[in-house]
């Protein structure tokens, strides 16, 4: 097992009552690596994400981030340690402006969330960093728009900006292109590629769209009925017969 992994999961399992949703999942993701978790609906991808990101503690197993154990920590602690996530259903601050959406994580990161005076817009440390993040996702010119007035794909980008603002070492993206049109999907793919290259951020995504998976991931993990069925480079996964039978095959011939 890779000891330098930025994210390492050991024998992770989660049950609802007697029902084991995921079982015995171990994986290690290297720094700067973009990987993808795939699997049919109900394979346990979102449960896995929730269990490692602090939505709820896993029933079994351990999670390490940058060598430190984070198993069962509440979400705000996991974020403080350097892992941030997006959600399948767009999760933004709808009635705030784009800028304010990005200010929020920065205020918390800079420990100013209990500061009872002062104007955020005058805080250079926050505004500059927010603008930097917004430039990355191509939103600098629309900072004053209310998020609820944006198009769907743009809202997803705002969520990306929220997730990226604190410069986390690991970013979990739960179906980042779900519901997007082909153009928006292309944009998202090139954005993730660019960010991975420029900032060295480690991306770990789940995705239904195989085109997205194969154009992004350097390593793919296949989840099937709660178990890790296979892992490897994209070409290995393509060639893997188990995977074809359990997942890709059905999908391709369907």
């Amino acid at each position: 097992m890779n000891e330098d992994a930025v994210l390492r999961v050991e024998n992770l399992g989660h049950s609802y009552g007697r029902f084991k949703v995921i079982e015995d999942i171990s994986l290690a993701i290297g720094k700067g690596e973009t990987s993808a978790l795939i699997g049919p609906n109900g394979a346990g991808k979102t449960t896995f994400y929730n269990a490692i990101s602090g939505r709820f503690p896993p029933t079994r197993g351990k999670v390490y981030l940058n060598g430190e154990e984070i198993t069962g920590l509440p979400s705000h602690r996991v974020v403080a340690r350097g892992m941030c996530r997006s959600f399948q259903i767009t999760n933004v601050f709808a009635e705030l402006t784009v800028a304010e959406n990005v200010f929020t994580p920065l205020i918390i990161q800079q420990n100013k969330h209990f500061k009872l005076y002062g104007n955020v817009y005058r805080d250079k440390l926050i505004v500059d960093k927010a603008m930097h993040t917004l430039e990355q996702v191509g939103f600098a010119d629309r900072a004053d728009q209310t998020v609820s007035s944006l198009a769907y794909g743009d809202k997803r980008l705002v969520e990306m900006a929220i997730v990226l603002a604190r410069e986390p070492s690991v970013v979990l993206l739960d179906e980042p292109t779900a519901g997007m049109n082909p153009e928006e999907t292309e944009n998202m793919i090139s954005l993730i590629k660019k960010l991975a290259k420029v900032s060295g951020t480690t991306f770990f995504i789940t995705e239904h769209d195989m085109k997205v998976v194969f154009s992004l991931a350097e390593k793919i993990y296949v989840l099937h009925q709660g178990h890790l069925l296979a892992q490897g480079r994209p070409e290995e996964i393509r060639a893997n017969e188990d995977v074809q039978e359990a997942y890709l095959g059905r999908k391709v011939h369907a």
């Binding site: 933004v92 009635e95 500061k115 104007n119 805080d123 900072a143």
Partner: protein, 317 residues
């Protein structure tokens, strides 16, 4: 580039000036009414920090209002007459109580939050109503001697309606300025983020419970301040302040005035009391007409009266 929002302070400044010169031209009765509007306005603005800005509907604010009032009454009855001491002590007691109530309540949302705060509020009501030795039971605690204030060697007292009005005005303006700072601070922005999406706040590193408790305590503290003022104004602390129907008042005022605007609840309080004065001249059934006025406001003015007017004006400018 994110544009720095310039706050328009001309309106509030004119309002303060008008309020300051008002008593010089107004009959005493209206001076007293205005005092009451300011006090309840402060309570409503404190409530709205929770409701409009944080998204938490508290139905137990009366408890903190009452605690402020009882603290003031008890101190005065026991011979303490320093105004600052009484104001600070009232706020402190309300702050501690709201920290405790907040600790238990903030884990709940929406209707459940409303119900548990109602429950806690009514527990305080039951105590005030039944602990007769200390609180005077349902009769409440009367206040005979008002506190005084030594300022630059001058001894100020507040026994006339006009002096009382100025005490209320200065305190409410100071309280509002502090609340305004909080609303527009980094903490205030996080509160709005919580209102919009508490899960997202948790997933960018915010401790949702602690942030909410802080909001609840700040709201409770200023509600306590309003309670102290009301006790001085009314010469009385009464368990009725803690009853849920009293806690409903800031809710009504905020929604009448508009929850999205900082001063909305204050205007709501004004509309509430002026309406009451007008209606009771014609009929005893003020509640009936309040209901009849409230219904269209809820149905057709989602931003409240003040909020809607402000939106219309801003659009024209």
């Amino acid at each position: 580039m994110a544009v720095l929002k310039r706050h328009n302070l001309a309106g509030p400044a004119i309002l303060v000036v008008l309020l300051a010169v008002g008593p010089l031209v107004m009959p005493t009765y209206w001076v007293m009414l205005l005092s009451e509007i300011l006090i309840m306005g402060l309570m409503a603005m404190s409530f709205n920090l929770l409701f409009g800005f944080t998204g938490l509907l508290s139905f137990g604010q009366g408890a903190f209002f009452g605690l402020g009032a009882y603290t003031a009454a008890l101190l005065l009855q026991n011979g303490f007459s320093n105004l600052f001491l009484i104001l600070v002590a009232g706020m402190l007691v309300a702050c501690v109580a709201s920290l405790v109530v907040g600790f238990f309540s903030v884990r709940l949302d929406e209707i459940f939050f409303a119900m548990i705060t109602l429950g806690f509020g009514m527990m305080f009501f039951s105590i005030a109503h039944n602990w007769i030795d200390v609180t005077g039971g349902s009769d409440g605690l009367p206040v005979f001697a008002l506190p005084s204030l030594s300022l630059f060697g001058v001894e100020l007292t507040f026994y006339t309606p006009v002096t009382m009005y100025y005490l209320v005005l200065v305190t409410v303006v100071l309280g509002s300025v502090l609340l305004w700072l909080v609303v527009h601070s980094p903490f205030g922005l996080i509160l709005k983020s919580l209102r919009e999406n508490k899960q997202r706040v948790a997933f960018v590193g915010g401790n949702v419970s602690r942030l909410r408790i802080a909001a609840f305590a700040i709201s409770g503290t200023f509600t306590g301040l309003a309670g102290v003022l009301f006790c001085l104004f009314n010469n009385m602390a009464s368990p009725e302040f803690m009853h849920w129907s009293f806690s409903a008042k800031p809710v009504i005022m905020s929604i009448i005035g508009g929850t999205g605007v900082f001063l909305g609840p204050l205007f709501g309080a004004g509309i509430f009391f002026v309406l009451e004065q007008v209606i009771i001249q014609y009929t005893e059934n003020w509640m009936l007409f309040l209901g009849i006025v409230l219904i269209p406001i809820v149905l057709f003015f989602p931003d409240g009266v003040f909020g809607t007017l402000r939106k219309k004006l801003l659009r024209k400018v």
